[in-house]
Each structure stands twice: as structure tokens, then as C-alpha cells.
Assembly symmetry: C3
Homo-oligomer: 149 residues x 3
């Protein structure tokens, strides 16, 4: 039984920027030496998400538009951003990112569990693992835990 955790650090180029992490996942599987088992992909952040879907600019633009219409980043009151009343978890450089927390909780896309088959992610033809930044770009950590035979 093999078991290995690796971390990649990524930064999107813009708010709502996408990054294709499929090759990073593949590398984590190879490094773990697992042929048959599974991989967990985990995003260590509360204002970002991991999607498994197709890497096609139109579909990704459609999703971005829908998500930002549903949960706008301006014109809506977010208690998380009301620094006159908020007391918890305040930082020196606290950002107004209440919208990104709501988006992240709606998506609930922090982790995925993916079969590993013949040393590769058990993805269908169009599937890719995709990082989505919901806040302003910053350094983000994605962890892959791979286990199996």
C-alpha cells in the first residue's frame, strides 16, 4: 500500500481566473507510484474552488457569468465585509471578499475523490481538474493525497 501527499502552489492571473491542474495531479500520481487506487484533490482555501469539468473557454465563461450573477461581488451587503461590526478573524490587510465566501460555500467544491486506474486519473474524455480563484489573485495551495497499490 502506497500513500503520498504532495502540494502545488498556484496563482491565478485575475479574479475568477481558471487554472488547469490536471498535469499536476498526473505528476502526483506518478510520484506516489500508485497504479490502482485513488487520489484526493484538496483546496486549502475558503475563497477558491476546485472544479472537475471541461477546459473550454466558452463553458468556463458561461459558468463565471452565472456564478457572478447569482452572487454579485458588488451592490449587495455582506456582513463579512462590514468592518464596523465584525470582530472575528480580522487581519491587518483584511479584504472585502464576503462574496467569495458565499460563492465557495454554494459550490462546496473544496475536495474531490478521483479513482486512479492504470497509473492515471480515472477521468472521462473531457474531464480536467480546474482551479477557480474566487477572490483577488494570490498564492494558493492545492494538495493531492494519492493512495493505493
Amino acid at each position: 500500500m502506497r500513500s503520498m501527499t504532495t502540494t502545488v502552489e498556484v496563482t491565478a492571473t485575475e479574479r475568477y481566473g481558471y487554472l488547469d491542474l490536471t498535469d499536476d495531479l498526473r505528476r502526483a500520481i506518478k510520484d506516489a507510484g500508485v497504479t490502482d487506487g485513488a487520489a484526493i484533490a484538496f483546496c486549502e482555501h475558503t475563497t477558491a474552488a476546485l472544479l472537475i469539468n471541461e477546459w473550454e473557454d466558452g463553458a468556463m465563461a458561461d459558468f463565471r457569468r452565472h456564478l457572478t450573477e447569482q452572487v454579485p461581488h458588488d451592490g449587495v451587503y455582506y456582513a463579512h465585509d462590514d468592518f464596523d461590526i465584525r470582530t472575528q478573524n480580522m487581519n491587518e490587510d483584511e479584504r472585502k471578499n464576503g462574496h467569495a465566501h458565499v460563492k465557495a460555500m454554494m459550490l462546496s467544491a473544496t475536495s474531490h475523490a478521483i479513482p486512479v486506474v492504470a497509473g492515471e486519473p480515472g477521468f472521462g474524455r473531457w474531464q480536467r481538474v480546474i482551479f477557480l480563484e474566487l477572490d483577488e489573485p494570490k498564492g494558493r495551495r492545492i494538495t493531492f493525497h494519492v493512495f493505493g497499490l
Copy 2:
């Protein structure tokens, strides 16, 4: 330590059709010979989803109505379906299914991780694992990876 991956092939009878895969999951657990461990249920598609919820026609109809109101399949522009400008991943038989990609990303329900207890899925009383077709019906592959003792 036992570890086994099995795949089932399913086809819904209609767009937004549901299929109860709980017995398929049970069979995968039995076939793996796992008594205590966990199972990963994974949908290999970008326009379909796996839900864990109650199999009750009313609740499933309510959810279908909500989802299609939120993300309509017509009357909305989807860049994914704009074949005049789209260049990536074009097939001979490309379908207009941009709505289904947006639904799938909103749900983010490609995989689930389920404890296995006493040789059965560790489900509560009403839980079932349910396939939901978001596109026109076609053959779909669902993978179960079961591991443990």
C-alpha cells in the same frame, strides 16, 4: 488491505432523468470484499451529476424545477454553444449543452466519498446514491473505488 475499482454503465430515459445506483454501490462493496473502509463514487462526465439524497419523486421533481429555473436550457446565451466563435474541443456531433456544463459546475457533484460499515454503505435511513442526467440521455460511466479491510 483490499482495493477494487468497478464501473457501471447507465443511460437515463430522459433529460434530467434520475437513476438509483445504490444497489450498484452495494454490489461493488460486496465484490471488493471490504467490510470496513470507504467507497468513492465517481461520475466520468462533465454534463451529469451524482447526488446523495432521498429517492422520492416529489423531492426529485422539486430539485429539477429549481435547477432548470436557475440555469435554463433555452432563452439564455451560452458561449459554449456559439459554434461560430468556438474553436476548442469541437466534435462532429457537437451538442448544444452549455446549460448542462453550468449546472454540473454549480452542483460540483462529480464525486462522493462514503464510509463502508459492516459491508454496507454507511448511509443514513433516507440516503441513496442517485445519478442525474443533465444533457440528452446517452451512455454514461460511473466508477466505484472501494478500499479497506
Copy 3:
């Protein structure tokens, strides 16, 4: 290889009440004796959810408001609650909770898979595992399956 499943029982104080289960997850990891591996957090219910996000009252209030606006608990017809026509899964004490099923399916937040690193959940700085009651408060079971070395 170690592998252990533990269950905690929780009850929220109100509808849409949140409970921080991070210490319960930590205890499950310690009890399993796993240093490097992964943990599955699984909610055994069809009208409740597990979130991984920040424990900050404002963000949690923002999310509650958004979710209840999207899927209202009154003023909308739910076939699940139409006891004149419904035939499946009827209990003596059947509750009108169709809204909670739709919320749960939209979130699709029944399970999470979390790396375990150095005997702790591999969480980023702000991440907590949070139970969210979607129905009236009642006793709920959350299962942690921990495995690894």
C-alpha cells in the same frame, strides 16, 4: 495501514444553525492513530450539509441569507410536501421539508475528503469543517473515516 470510523451525534440550536466540528475531526484522527493519510467526513442526512469554510459569523449569515433567498422555505410549492398526492416514504411525523431537500441537493455537500498531515487535518489557515442544519433541529450523525499510516 490504519483505518477507523467514528461517529459523532450533534443537534443544532435552530434551523440553519451552524456547528463547528473541527475538533471532532481532530479527535477522530488522533483516535485512529493516523499521522499521514486522509479523512472522510460524511453527513448521514438528506436535509443537512457539511461545509468547509471560515467560522466567521458574518460570512455564515451572508451564506444563510443567500441560500434561503435562492430556495425559500415558504411561498413556493414543493411536491415533496404535498401530502395529498405523495405516496413514497411517508412517516407518521412527516415534516414539510421539501425546501431542505432542494437546498441539500444544490449544495451537494454530503461528504468531504481531507488530507491528514502530521496527525492533523491538512487545512489552510481559515478552514473549519462546519455542520449546517437545513431542517428543524434534530439529532444528526456525522461519520469520520480516517485511514493511512
